[in-house]
């Protein structure tokens, strides 16, 4: 793999974790985190960005997961697309799809935060203030309570990449404000490193030039590609 022929297109939250491991000379483009709530818009932006990334690039690494199916339907005519075979970035930060499943099954009512998510400031917790403005204090409280009804835990993923104190402080404060349990869970950079340096094994969906990414690509467990 030649870094100069490889380009990364990543979400703002994921690039935070990729940059420390990025080989010199590799180009990257960051897309807005806010797109994740609108899969159709994210899909369109991703496709346009891929289309605009013509030669000399041979490989495009997408710093995304399935992301509400936003990557399904994407295609590059002259490049190979590499996408982590995960549901979303939480699996990337935890180090594997399996680790995410373990967390999710042990406590499904978990809202995850990382530095990138906190900096992007786009969460129900941030939305609260605008709800107050729109619906008044009492109704906003009811709405946020309903939005977080089955949530029990606010988990800060410690990926070891950055000075955590500030984010810890934010997460603790937010957990307290919304009646959630604060917890810090260990992250891992294993998946992030593998994205950038390979091997692109069964943990990745690989779409060769002209091939379209499908949902079922994410569900194949064999390494037939």
């Amino acid at each position: 793999m030649l870094s100069s022929r490889t380009k990364v297109i990543a979400c703002a939250t994921v690039i935070e974790e990729m940059l420390p491991h990025m080989p010199p000379g590799m180009q990257y483009q960051v897309l807005d985190f806010g797109l994740h709530v609108n899969p159709a818009a994210l899909k369109q932006t991703l496709q346009e960005t891929i289309d605009a990334s013509a030669p000399p690039f041979e490989t495009i690494i997408l710093g995304y997961g399935l992301c509400s199916q936003a990557v399904v339907g994407l295609k590059a005519n002259n490049c190979t697309l590499i996408v982590p075979r995960v549901d979303d970035c939480i699996a990337l930060f935890l180090g594997s799809a399996e680790a995410y499943k373990v967390q999710s099954r042990s406590e499904p009512g978990t809202y995850y935060l990382t530095k990138g998510w906190i900096e992007a400031g786009d969460s129900p917790f941030e939305e609260y203030d605008s709800l107050v403005e729109q619906y008044g204090e009492e109704k906003a409280r009811r709405l946020i309570n309903q939005m977080l009804k089955h949530y029990t835990r606010l988990a800060l993923i410690n990926t070891g990449q950055y000075e955590l104190e500030r984010y810890r402080e934010y997460t603790r404060r937010t957990a307290e404000r919304f009646g959630l349990r604060y917890e810090e869970i260990p992250g891992s950079d294993v998946f992030i490193k593998k994205m950038l340096h390979g091997p692109w094994d069964g943990d990745f969906v690989i779409a060769r030039p002209g091939e379209t990414i499908s949902y079922l690509d994410f569900k194949r467990t064999t390494e037939e590609t």
Binding site: P39, L66, S68, Q69, V72, D87, D88, Y100, K101, S104, R105, P108, G109, E127, L131, Q134, Y135, K139, R142, L143, Q146, M147, K149, H150, Y151, S214, Y215, L216, K219
Partner: protein, 210 residues
Amino acid sequence: MSNELVNAIADMREEDALRIVREMVESGSDPMTILDAAREAMAVVGQRYEEGTYFLPELMLAGEMLGQITEIVKPALAKAPEVTRYGKVVIGTVQGDIHDIGKNIVTFMLDVNGFDVLDLGVDVPPQKFVEAIRDFQPQVVGLSGFLTLAFDAMKETVDAIKEAGLRDGVKIMIGGGQVTEEVKTYTGADAYGRDAMAGVSLAKQWVGAK
């Protein structure tokens, strides 16, 4: 009056909506007229959500209004002559997922459209669906999930129903989040619905209701 109610709900005027419902109940309106208006309003809300005029808070507010309206109407409904019941549905948010705003709206819509609905709640393990199918004997099972992670749990649930030997007795629909034909195939469900009304249409079609 029921037009006013449709508009009040659709425009998120909660206090107005509840006031109108109380007035209608007090003046002896047919409770079904009230629920029909709520149903009509929900279709408008759903459409505005699809169009991007409304967002999650509006869906939640609408869900809250539905809950409150149902509470107000319930006593009157109990006195009303028996409404046609088309069949039974077991519904729940699958294991590992706790989102239920959509599921609650579907439950309401099925209920007011003539189904007896057993709602198992959120983070429902496959075995709990199996037991509910044995006990409640529904014709239709609804599996809900917002996260793509939930699609795996949907598949596990369908598999568990199959293993229990109950698959042939029920039709299974999935919904919530980004369900597609591919997801339907992967999970082994019979159909998927993109919104609450689609769920109602599927259930009606399966039990042979008009």
